[in-house]
Amino acid sequence: MTIATRRSSALVAALLASSALAAPALAADKTITIATHYNQEQMAPLLACFNQYEAENPGTKIVFQQASYRDFLQTIMTARVGGTSPDIYNIYSIWAPQLIDSGTLAEPPADVVDFVNENYGKGSVDAATIDGTLYGIPTELSVYQLFYNKKLLAEAGYDAPPATWDELAEIAAKVTKKNDQGNITVAGYAYGPTVANAVHVFYSQMYAAGVAPYSDDFRKTNFLDPRAITILERQGKLFADGSTSNSVTTDSFASSGAAMAIMANWQKQSLIDAYGDEFEATVGIAPIPDDGAKPGTMLYSFLWAVDSASKVQDESWALLKWLNSPREGGLSCTGQMLNDLGALTGNLGDLAAMETGDFFTKPFVDAIESGAAKSQPNVWQASEDDRILRSYIEQVWAGQMSAKDALTAADSEVTAILAEQDN
């Protein structure tokens, strides 16, 4: 079976199922709707658990709703505005302050709070805690590192990943191939079109340089730190050198159209799909290059949360607890899904039961355990702040603004938004 058909048969399942969710709920006493950004294919282990749960708890029906990651916050907000919210969301931790401010998230009952405190690592519990209150059960942890294509680097005469940014820029320039029109066919380095493609990478590089993106009280940014400005200047230089362009995206990494990118570990499964037997021979993971400071990067977390308007809150929390409790064989239902995705989790039992010793996963786990990976700060209106920052980063990439001007402008806009939480 070729890679292609495997991937498309997975899509079949995904799409068929997303149409199945359209079917009206049958005459069940309690219907629990769960929304995630995972597609049907990725959700397969959880869907099996849903069936089991339905069988064990007659009268309960579980409906799965998928929304693409890019639209996810907008979808749950619109659903909330429209009074058609699902009961359970799998949300990105930085959305939490905004959702809590609008009263969207329900506080978990005491037994769930105890369950989380007993079974989850501190970093992930912190990510799910806003102003001292825990709002859900942590799930997927994602860590950023440098991905590199061993074969493309070797072709250009490099057998090791770059340790400093200057090396990265040099390798990127060497690897890049262009057609007669000067358009890139193989890029040395790749960014991408989403907000995270720019902003998460920028934050990760800031942590790698030893500076947090926001002040500790989340009222100010550190965008004007000289180290932050240098990072953005260097990004702009990659564009100016022609080692990357807007038409190259992190997706190109899977088709050997880009040699390096800073990406998160959840890419694992799609890269295995893309490279098959050549996965280990092609893909390499390295710390984010900086000027030799201590290694550092960013991690972000998702959490299971329950909508405060849900009519089946108790049932929802009970279901969530069940989904995240260890089963025979060690992994919980959520843990099984994350494991199959190649993702990491804040659930200590699951993390211990996962296969994390392989060449790909180990560097990410190491970064979590050593404390090198810092949790993304849950600042006010984070998704809007990030979009603003992305818009200025883009202008530096395009050569329209200097890094200093761009970050000055971003700082003043974001600071104004951060101030809104006090009035």
Partner: protein, 322 residues
């Protein structure tokens, strides 16, 4: 209710199509009164009036009110007076950029689209095989915008799109049609012109068909060349149609944003972020309903002024032509 009335009148009296005229006028039944000449028009108008109140007047008032508040639609709105307008017009770093993009887009579609449509319509109107040409040129016009966007996304890909591959074969450079912030808006304009060409051609050819052939014959007898015919006869006689197309296209262009939403999402670097798109995203991504409504009202006011000015010009132009 009207439905039942209709059915009553249609089927209830079906066996006797013509009521007895000889009858002495009896007191009017309810049915007769409703279908009388003075009441009937109001019943015919009732759907329009109900719609006009619920989906026209009410939204306009409601939008005006929320534009004066800060409202995330989840908690109660907070009245802030004209602060939203003040922020947009004086503080917002993006707003004026989107206004410029809007004008650029609207003017660009006119500058490229109108001459092209006019020339093609001129060629089309007196050509053989009208049905054939028409079907082809209308194809993009009836294609949904999502399809248009995905068709062109593939065509305009930097390295592997058909357009740049063709340019490459000719030894020409291949610009980043949708990735270069300096070019993206031009690409969006060209795609939009492609979509709308059939529409404008149609309007022009209807106008051209109304020009009497005898003008051309007379001019040809006087030895006029084809280009003279076009500029001396066609263009002046077509002036009302040209003005009409200019005005409607400009207004459409100022309020249009679907193609940008689907094709470029306003990027790269906000180069195709027009004001209406800015409003849409502000409302449904950031849930700033108040500020977004203020954007809508400012844009509407701008379009209204432009429309009124153009209507004056149009009237004058229309009169001159006759």
């Amino acid at each position: 209710m009207t439905d039942q009335q209709d059915r009553a009148t249609r089927y209830g009296q079906a066996p006797a199509p013509l009521p007895d005229l000889i009858d002495d006028a009896p007191p009017l039944t309810l049915r007769q009164r409703i279908s009388s000449k003075s009441v009937a028009p109001w019943i015919f108008l009732s759907p329009m009036l109900a719609f006009g109140v619920i989906f026209f007047l009410l939204p306009i008032i409601f939008a005006a009110y929320i534009s004066l508040t800060r409202w995330n639609s989840l908690t109660a709105p907070r009245f802030v007076g004209l602060k939203n307008y003040e922020y947009l017009l004086t503080g917002d770093p993006k707003f004026w950029g989107t206004v410029w993009n809007t004008i650029y887009f609207a003017a660009g579609t006119l500058a490229v689209g109108i001459p092209l449509a006019l020339v093609l319509a001129y060629a089309f109107t007196r050509a053989y095989g009208q049905a054939f040409w028409r079907s082809i040129y209308w194809l993009p016009m009836i294609t949904n915008v999502v399809a248009v966007a995905y068709i062109w996304k593939f065509l305009l890909d930097d390295s592997f799109g058909l357009v740049n591959m063709a340019l490459g074969k000719l030894g020409l450079p291949g610009p980043g049609w949708l990735t270069n912030p300096g070019i993206a808006m031009i690409s969006v304009i060209l795609v939009f012109v492609w979509m709308q060409l059939g529409h404008n051609m149609l309007l022009f050819s209807a106008g051209l068909a109304n020009i009497d052939e005898s003008y051309y014959e007379a001019a040809r007898l006087d030895g006029a060349s084809e280009s003279q015919l076009f500029f001396r006869i066609t263009v002046p006689l077509l002036k009302p149609t040209i003005l009409f197309v200019l005005i409607t296209n400009f207004i459409t262009g100022l309020s249009y944003f679907t193609l940008m939403l689907v094709l470029t999402e306003g990027g790269p670097v906000g180069a195709t972020n027009v004001t209406a798109l800015y409003m849409y995203k502000m409302a449904f991504e950031d849930l700033r309903m108040g500020r977004a409504s203020a954007v809508a009202y400012i844009l509407f006011a701008f379009i209204l002024v432009v429309t009124l000015i153009q209507l004056r010009v149009f009237r004058r132009g229309g009169v001159e032509a006759h």
